[in-house]
């Protein structure tokens, strides 16, 4: 093996060791911004919002009757609020979001479409 190849291999090895050993040598613990339950609830929340939007779009484009829409929409919103309440209990979406929600409510005039 020629000298340049040996040198480059050693440099590569040093780089690899530096990359993989950093968390082991660092005093700072790896950060996980959400707890597993929180992350699960956030994923469920996004899916629920999407479902609410899809349902509204289905209704407005004539695929759902009014009666079915009310029923499904109500069920979805109940589920959404349950998820949000569980998230709140985990301390997520704290006061600054509530303030934002208040501001948004003032902005909204009646029901605004997600479409």
């Amino acid at each position: 093996m020629n000298g340049l190849a040996v040198l480059l291999t050693l440099v590569l090895l040093a780089a690899v060791m530096a990359v993989v050993s950093r968390p082991l040598l660092s005093a700072r613990k790896p950060d996980e911004s959400d707890t597993p339950e929180q992350a699960e609830l956030e994923a469920a929340r996004e899916a629920k919002y999407r479902e609410i939007r899809d349902t509204e779009l289905d209704y407005r484009t004539g695929k759902l009757s009014g009666e079915d829409y009310q029923s499904v929409n109500s069920a979805l919103r109940t589920e959404a609020v349950e998820i949000l309440d569980r998230l709140d209990s985990l301390g997520h979406e704290a006061t600054d979001e509530q303030q934002e929600a208040t501001g948004e409510q003032q902005e909204a005039t009646g029901e605004r479409s997600d479409v």
């Binding site: 590569l12 613990k29 911004s33 609410i52 899809d54 407005r60 759902l64 109500s74 919103r77 959404a80």
Partner: protein, 724 residues
């Protein structure tokens, strides 16, 4: 530099082993720093393999023929683009490409999920590194790309002429990106099962990667079909070849997964089905990789002889057994959270679509692996051809296209009959009108499947068009926007839905092209002499004169062709000139001195140069097999073999020049393959529409918009409940 490449592979293997250990130790002991170290091993692996890939790429670009793979697949005269792409034309180079792409996609997914799903990610990391380690081991122990010969030969063999087509060079990176991206959902699926965390989060994490796998695999399949049509001399784009089928199967199960995961996201249903699909798709991707490079179906005896076959079979066996174990041992936590509300719902249509897609995959799997299964059971090798595949896949494809038109007009959860009736009026009318027009005009007489496909495609266009129309109308009513802006806003706001609708249109267009070109093709294989004509469908083709050329005057693409013989064909329709075609056949050096000093110059596998006039309504396609074995031409070769020394190829070329002149002076009849195929171009157009739609569906919404949406939706959710 080969030493650096070889050392990189060994270092990469070491990183894989370390990373697997660190990840598993971290997740089992709860020590997050070790899981983090394992994740960083993937980044390090990507870096090391990038170095290895760069070493090999540079060797090709620098014409370093001391590298065996460079000498075997490249030459100094190979154009630079093909040199750069020749890296993956060999077994060894393609393994390196596979491992490198896997490391890059793995790094991306682990970076994006670095702050989430710690347990699932740790297991997924170990699995991804396991796959990486497998492919690197194949290179280290069986097929290294960095083997060298000293002294280096002065020139390389050159790239296989069949591969000198842009489609064929881009096809492997696209296909391998698709295969390696299929491994990402598999790893996270297994990780979720191992960590016993099988809810919404892992599905959300891998959704885009599943879409990306589907997109890249699909592009790779389309490019392969295009290459087959434009480069090979048989005139078709899909022959149900084992290699083609190997890539189609994971694409089908991937398509099923993309649909059924929406049901899991919305309703918490089909968890067992989805995780099984993900595991099956990844396993099929590995089986496709194995099939291409083992030669198992070309010759059953090659299985035992191919050194890579056994490790792949072991890996596939481990994947299948571990998948079955994981799914069955975790079935309690995979129970559905809800049941189907109604048979008349989008969920049930998606279920139907899934069954059809998996059914298609099963049919293709059976037909592809049947020779192997047959020999195992009976001791006799058997095979099935295109008619067998067509018999079972065509009806399933019809149902699939029909369902792709039904789905968009049915609501989630439940639809009423009255609503469904109203929503089907326009699409059904369009389908029926198409049927009437085609019957009245006699276009599709005696072609019931083609007729059915055209009507189904019209139905799809009607249903998707109606969705767009109604969506834009709603948007305009609420937001007061002009139609074009409303359309853009509608798609931006609902990328998944409306991107998916575009995909459905693309699929319908592809199948229209397939149905038309298969059912209404006119083909002729015959012998013509200069001045003679023949009719193919409504077109008259006249053999005007022969063509002949020898390198270096010819061969602008530096294919290494020594002699090219062809023809000029004039194409006309109802007496009007349409096009001029120039098909040819290129002859190559066989490298076999035993064939003689002139004989070996044209003794290699000839390659057909297709000539076609492609149009929106039809393609006129031609290929030629000139006869170089006439007594006069053979005599020239014999005399050349006797009088020209083998070490004087330049004098051998003079003999070829004499052959070319003789061919022009007294051209013998040539065999022509002539085809007129309607609507072939719509296959490629449909493919582009499919992938455009896929890109839209995959594109993420900006996070700021997501945040505002979440807060607004919360207030509205609360308002809605207050009103109720």
């Amino acid at each position: 530099m080969a030493e650096l490449g070889g050392a990189s592979l060994i270092l990469a293997l070491t990183v894989c082993v370390y990373g697997i250990g660190a990840s598993l130790y971290g997740v089992r002991t709860g020590r997050a720093e070790w899981s983090e170290s394992g994740r960083r091993s993937v980044y390090a692996l990507a870096g090391v393999l990038t170095v290895a890939f760069a070493v090999l790429e540079l060797a090709f670009l620098r014409n370093d023929f001391s590298f065996n793979t460079v000498a075997e697949t490249s030459s100094a005269t190979t154009p630079t683009f093909y040199k750069a792409a020749a890296v993956w034309s060999s077994q060894q180079g393609s393994l390196l490409l596979w491992a490198w792409l896997l490391s890059m996609w793995s790094s991306l997914v682990l970076f994006l999920t670095r702050k989430r799903m710690r347990d699932v990610s740790a297991y997924a990391t170990a699995i991804l590194l396991g796959f990486g380690g497998f492919f690197i081991s194949l290179m280290v122990f069986y097929a290294t790309p960095f083997a060298t010969t000293n002294p280096a030969p002065p020139e390389g063999v050159g790239l296989d002429p069949l591969l000198r087509h842009p489609s064929m060079m881009i096809h492997p990176p696209m296909l391998y990106s698709g295969y390696t991206l299929c491994i990402v959902p598999l790893a996270f699926g297994m990780g979720a099962l191992l960590a016993r965390k099988v809810d919404a989060e892992w599905i959300k994490a891998i959704r885009r990667f599943s879409l990306a796998a589907w997109l890249f695999l699909g592009i790779g399949i389309m490019l392969g079909a295009r290459w087959s049509y434009a480069e090979l001399g048989w005139g078709g784009y899909w022959g149900w070849d084992a290699v083609e089928n190997a890539s189609l199967m994971p694409w089908l199960t991937g398509t099923a997964f993309i649909h059924s995961l929406m049901i899991q996201e919305k309703r918490g249903m089909l968890k067992v089905w989805n995780v099984s699909l993900v595991l099956a798709t990844g396993t099929l991707a590995i089986m496709g990789t194995f099939l291409v490079r083992s030669g198992i179906l070309n010759s059953i005896h090659a299985f035992g002889g191919a050194t890579l076959g056994v490790p792949f079979v072991v890996l596939i066996g481990v994947l299948i057994l571990s998948s079955i174990y994981l799914v069955s041992s975790r079935r309690d936590m995979l129970r559905s959270e809800h049941r189907l509300d109604s048979l008349l719902s989008r969920e049930s249509i998606f279920l139907g679509n899934n069954i059809v897609l998996v059914g298609l995959c099963f049919v293709i799997f059976w037909g592809t692996y049947f020779p192997l299964i047959s020999e195992a059971l009976t001791g006799h090798e058997a095979s099935v051809g295109p008619p067998w595949f067509d018999r079972y896949t065509v009806p399933l494809a019809l149902i699939l296209v029909l369902l792709s038109g039904v789905g968009p007009v049915i609501a989630w959860r439940r639809a009423t009959l009255a609503n469904a009736r109203r929503n089907f009026v326009i699409p059904l009318s369009l389908g029926l009108m198409t049927l009437v027009v085609l019957l009245v005009t006699g276009v599709a007489d005696s072609k019931p499947f083609a007729l059915a496909m055209f009507c189904c495609a019209a139905f799809v266009l009607g249903s998707v068009g109606q969705e767009y129309w109604r969506g834009v109308r709603v948007r305009r009513t609420i937001a007061g926007e002009p139609a074009p802006l409303a359309l853009v806003a509608l798609v931006k706001r609902n990328r998944r839905r409306f991107g998916g609708y575009i995909v459905h249109i693309g699929i319908a267009v592809v199948f229209v092209g397939v149905a038309a070109s298969s059912s209404f093709q006119h083909a002729s294989e015959l012998s013509l002499s200069p001045g003679q004509s023949t009719k193919v469908g409504a077109y008259t083709m006249r053999y005007v004169r022969p063509t002949a050329a020898i390198t270096p005057k010819y061969d602008p693409a530096h294919t290494g062709s020594t002699l090219s013989l062809g023809a000029v064909l004039d194409v006309s329709k109802h007496g009007k000139y349409v096009a001029t075609l120039t098909p040819a056949e290129d002859f190559y050096d066989s490298g076999e001195p035993a064939q003689g000093s002139v004989g070996h110059l044209i003794g290699g596998q000839p390659v057909s140069q297709v000539s076609m006039d492609a149009g929106v309504t039809r393609d006129v396609w031609s290929a030629i097999a000139p006869n170089i074995n006439t007594p006069r031409l053979k005599r020239i070769v014999e005399i050349g073999n006797k009088t020209i020394p083998i070490v004087r190829p330049d004098e051998g070329m003079i003999a070829l020049a004499v052959m070319a002149r003789e061919y022009m002076k007294a051209p013998p009849p040539a065999e022509f393959h002539l085809i007129v195929s309607p609507l072939v171009m719509w296959i490629w157009i449909g493919g582009a529409i499919v992938f455009g739609g896929g890109l839209i569906a995959m594109w993420p919404a900006p996070s700021a918009v997501r945040r505002r949406v979440s807060v607004r939706a919360r207030s509205r959710a609360a308002q809605g409940l207050a009103r109720a």
